[in-house]
């Protein structure tokens, strides 16, 4: 059983803002969905590779890439080739 506090905790970890009214809604929905996921309890074994693929490497050579201006064209607040971000501390 997931509580409102559990959902609020996950929302903080995931950096997803949630209103108090939504907390109530999500908690009820999560319990219904997680109850459905409970069918997996009867599956034996754990994680193993599903796609029979291995890591794909290439030589460490410089290849054509995007120009600095192209990379920054969607940033709202670029300056001197950098992007301004909210303060971390």
């Amino acid at each position: 059983m997931v509580t409102k506090e559990d959902v609020a905790h996950i929302a903080t970890i995931a950096d997803i803002g949630v209103d108090d009214s939504e907390l109530e809604l999500f908690t009820g929905q999560f319990n219904a969905i997680l109850e459905y996921f409970g069918v997996l309890d009867s599956v034996e074994g754990g994680a193993d590779a599903v796609h029979s693929r291995t890591n794909v490497f290439r030589e460490d050579l410089v290849k054509p890439s995007l120009l600095n201006d192209e990379v920054l064209m969607n940033a709202q607040d670029p300056e001197d080739g950098f992007i301004r971000a909210p303060r971390v501390i």
Binding site: A14, G17, A85
Partner: protein, 432 residues
């Protein structure tokens, strides 16, 4: 030769988020054919939003590989189609740009998440369109709108430039008014691309010809299980009888892992989404964050206002499924169940050439019909197994129930797109 295609139609069903009224095109197998592209595939210079407010105004600086191939084949890209936000939905109602209406009945949803692409094709605005399919997002709207849609094998079409939702499940694929056009578009986008590490080097698609006589077609009991509308089941069973009349051998079989498939799919896709969608912080693209707030505060705020409810629900559930103490219970078990699904297909494909059943358990939903997420997820039960196993699957129209289109799903062996397309063509044309 360079020419310009002028697109001068209205968009009565809200199939498009962006329309390109003038589209350049060149020579090639698709020369001058108007093609629509789902709005989660990067198109250089054309706004690409994934149906989300958080990417409003985002202009990709590069083309996805499938787009490069489309342009090389001469296609005229006439717009970007509406979709459930980041592909998360079964109706296209989870779009920040309003719902799309189903051309077969405008009071109904077109299915999703590639609902805009399906509506654009079904209403005749374009001959063909690209969609993406993570758990049925091409086949569901193809079924609901009465057109053809193919999810290729995992690794068959490059995902370079596809904006990720759940990387291990999704593929780009074609939607078209008929099997021949679907196969034509597929033949253009299939192929190896070193920029996608999961892309495979395989022989090019074979020329399409109707072929079904002598094929062994398995029909798992579970495909007609609980929750499948009786009228839909009846129409699909008639379709399967037509396959038999065309010379196929119908073989009843069983797929016990179906019991776990939907839960395995949702745990996996939500977990991958919670990681993939971490990139939307508004710093490099999208709506700008408030620089005066602290990082976590600004980030939470922008993701609250920029993401819709379903996207936030899935990020939260995915974060939960991966969190300490729960990973073994959910994610690890989902991967074990995924292996069971894959093993079930491998076992069945030792004795049959393909599987057949309904694409969707029901006909198109009424717009606004359901707001309960779990009951919406349950509608994906018949399409998710192919994504979990990475095998190709298509939906081809097979009649109507409740006066609405019904799709027949054919699921093939890994990389056997040619085989299911040939069978679908024989079915569509009524010839073996």
């Amino acid at each position: 030769m360079g020419s310009t295609f002028t697109f001068d139609h209205d968009d009565p069903n809200n199939a498009f988020i962006t329309i390109c009224r003038q589209a350049d095109y060149g020579d090639g197998p698709l020369s001058g054919i108007p093609v629509a592209v789902k709005d989660n595939i990067s198109t250089a210079g054309i706004e690409t939003t994934c149906g989300s407010k958080i990417l409003k105004g985002y202009i990709p600086p590069y083309d996805g590989h499938a787009i490069t191939l489309l342009r090389s084949a001469g296609a005229a890209i006439i717009g970007k189609t509406n979709m459930d936000e980041f592909g998360m939905g079964t109706t296209t109602e989870n779009s920040a740009y309003g719902p799309t209406r189903n051309p077969a009945d405008p009071t109904r949803a077109p299915g999703g998440s590639s609902g805009g692409s399906a509506a654009a094709v079904a209403s005749g605005l374009v001959r063909m369109a690209l969609g993406t399919d993570t758990g049925g997002s091409i086949r569901c709207p193809a079924s609901f709108c009465g057109i053809v849609g193919l999810k290729p094998s995992y690794g068959r079409v490059s995902r370079y430039g596809l904006i990720a939702y759940a990387n291990s499940l999704e593929q780009i694929g074609p939607l078209a008014q008929n099997v021949r056009d679907c196969a034509l578009l597929y033949s253009v986008i299939a192929g190896y691309d070193p920029r996608d590490g999961t892309s495979l080097e395989l022989p090019p698609p074979a020329p399409l010809k109707p072929e079904i006589a002598g094929k062994r077609i398995g029909v798992p009991t579970e495909f007609f299980g609980e929750g499948v509308d009786l009228d839909v089941a009846s129409v699909v069973r008639s379709g399967i009888s037509r396959l038999e009349d065309l010379g196929a051998e119908i073989i009843p079989c069983s797929m016990p892992s179906m019991r776990y498939a939907l839960a395995a799919y949702y745990v996996t896709s939500m977990s991958e989404a919670s990681s993939n969608l971490g990139r939307y912080d508004g710093v490099r693209y999208g709506t700008a964050p408030d620089s005066f707030r602290s990082w976590h505060d600004a980030y939470s705020q922008i993701r609250k206002s920029g993401f819709g409810e379903e996207v936030r629900r899935r990020i939260l559930l995915g974060s939960f499924a991966l969190s300490a103490g729960y990973q073994g219970k959910y994610y690890a078990k989902a991967q074990a169940a995924r292996r069971m699904v894959r093993d079930d297909f491998a076992r069945l494909f030792r004795t049959v050439d393909m599987l057949a059943g309904p694409t969707m358990p029901c006909v198109a939903f009424r717009l606004g019909e359901t707001s309960d997420p779990l009951s919406m997820y349950l509608a994906d039960i018949l399409t998710v197994p192919a994504n979990l196993a990475g095998v190709p699957a298509l939906s081809v129209p097979c009649g109507t129930a409740h006066n609405l289109p019904v799709g027949l799903q054919l699921i093939g062996k890994h990389y056997a797109e040619d085989e299911i397309l040939s069978a679908a063509l024989a079915f569509e044309e009524g010839s073996a």
